[in-house]
Symmetry: C2
């Protein structure tokens, strides 16, 4: 059994989301806690702006729960920047024990997996799980300087400038994390770094199939299944892969990368949003908001990550990917 089921479910006490101007131009505008008027967040470099996103998301989540930094036992955080500097510089001033993660765009689910095991085991009382991404810091690190104004391919995704943070505790009130499934690295040989959705779909399919098999459940047992961030291209591939195993999720599935932007009214979106901050900001705004209100009672959240680097791409390597699953329920079991 790979599915980890918590005897004592872990409570999601609060959550905070941060987005920027472009994300606020999409359908989820009213759900974000903090929207900055531009991508600078008042900082002089994009890397510092991204650190500010993480700090703001954590501050917002803690504020909603009336907590201080000193109330947190461990913070689990990572991001897309080389050496995860968005996280390390954000957390530097918090004085909270820190475990740094690298899971690319799967980081929100990875941090929830780690945080929930720590809480469930009783070794700590309160965890914060956080991540971020920033369009400008990612573009210059992974692709081209923005000043080049490079054309983007139709399958490419737009890195979300945003982030999210979740506070976990062992508590009586939901929503609860009841189960998790840690992903395996999957690589079906996709080499196009402008088609991450296609690269990541097999990881999402593998994780979902394993979860349904081991729990003897089906898509209809859940109110919704959220992936992040396959985009429109990767989502269609996910459906096709699962249909080979006679699993149909089309009527239950939403992808954070598809949800966050409106490609009809917003330019250059192409296949959808991406980046750690995409699934994080959508989870910590719309998704958990709907669960908290009881409009969604039982959901699966699967964040996918492409574990490549610009160096591995230049060396001709294909793209290793991963998908971690978090089962979130209004009820304790």
């Amino acid at each position: 059994m790979r599915v980890i089921r918590f005897k004592e479910p872990v409570s999601i006490v609060s959550f905070g989301s941060v987005a920027s101007k472009k994300e606020a131009g999409g359908p989820l505008k009213s759900y974000f806690d903090v929207v900055n008027i531009d991508t600078s967040f008042g900082e002089k470099t994009w890397e510092k702006s991204e650190s500010k996103i993480i700090k703001t998301a954590v501050d917002m989540a803690l504020e909603k729960a009336k907590l201080k930094y000193s109330d947190v036992d461990v913070i689990f955080s990572g991001d897309l920047m080389n050496q995860c500097i968005a996280s390390t510089f954000a957390i530097r001033d918090m004085n909270i024990p820190f475990l740094g993660l690298y899971g690319a765009c799967s980081t929100m689910a990875e941090s929830l997996c780690l945080g929930s095991v720590f809480i469930n085991s009783g070794v700590i009382n309160r965890a914060v799980c956080a991540t971020s991404s920033h369009f400008c810091s990612s573009e210059r690190q992974y692709r081209f300087p923005l000043e080049y104004a490079s054309m983007r391919t139709p399958t490419s995704q737009w890195t979300v400038t945003g982030g999210g943070a979740v506070v976990l505790e062992k508590a009586e009130n939901g929503p609860f994390i009841t189960e998790i499934l840690i992903g395996k690295v999957e690589d079906l040989g996709v080499t196009d770094q402008n088609n991450m959705g296609a690269a990541m779909a097999p990881a999402a399919a593998s994780t979902l199939k394993t979860f349904f098999d081991e729990t003897a459940t089906a898509p209809d047992d859940y109110d919704a299944i959220f992936t992040g961030d396959l985009g429109s291209v990767g989502s269609e591939l996910l459906y096709q892969l699962l249909e080979k195993d006679k699993i149909n999720i089309r009527h239950k599935h939403h992808d954070c990368g598809v949800m966050i932007f409106n490609p009809k009214t917003q330019s250059n979106i192409h296949a959808g949003g991406s980046g750690c901050g995409c699934s994080a900001s959508v989870l910590c705004s719309y998704i958990l908001g709907q669960v908290k209100k009881g409009k969604l009672k039982n959901i699966l959240f699967i964040a996918t990550g492409a574990l490549l680097s610009p160096t591995s791409v230049l060396q001709g390597e294909s793209i290793p990917t991963i998908a971690h699953l978090v089962h979130i329920s209004e009820e304790r079991n």
Copy 2:
């Protein structure tokens, strides 16, 4: 209380270490499981060589315990490469659930902290904790292309080409991980990336002082205290910082960065070894070997990490650092 004490200590079932020619020229030569004749490990790029180091260390640790990849529930791994590609490409073919970490040179201790909590909590039965570094892949990513043959400053450290892996289980036989302490990010304003030891010493001091305070123990209660990788400059600073708090560790302390090379007979070592693979390869060869033989019965292992990036340095930022502690004992408590 920040110290996490396991009611049921976690057993270190086996461990494997890998090193290269230069490390084998130092005092620990006879302790490494695998020594490659050069830094290539038979691969065409340094990044692939580094992946091979992780794979070889994991294979060695599993082989000693007569285990297969399929016997492992989760592998915790990270490295210094951008987007941790040494780990992700090494683990791609193992088909083991994977949680990626970024803790710079603190990764070996970070992975042991995470792995031991997972094992202790009972959510999984067996974990592998691994990390690596490679002189050539690090030099070109962090500093200059090797072809420049740049001069190195006296306080600089030499990135170890090596790695280590540990298999953890809940079992009857030691050595055991009995306690862990997760570090906080410390930054006293050091900006010289060629003096990582000085930057990281405050993190090690803070973690050690907290541990001694909370456990009401003193250096004399342990057979040895191993840090990695402060080097000679950072070690002296660690002594001075702890002496301000009336804690003297000089007679118990060894630094993995100082232990691994002999600066009198080996060129360009300067302040000592560094890199995730330094503390990993020393832990998984000499240190755990001595504990297994009963020559060391009760030790502290503190791996330190500098959480900077070349971008943060160019932007004039100081260096955030961290130190995680693992208490390893021959006995269960």
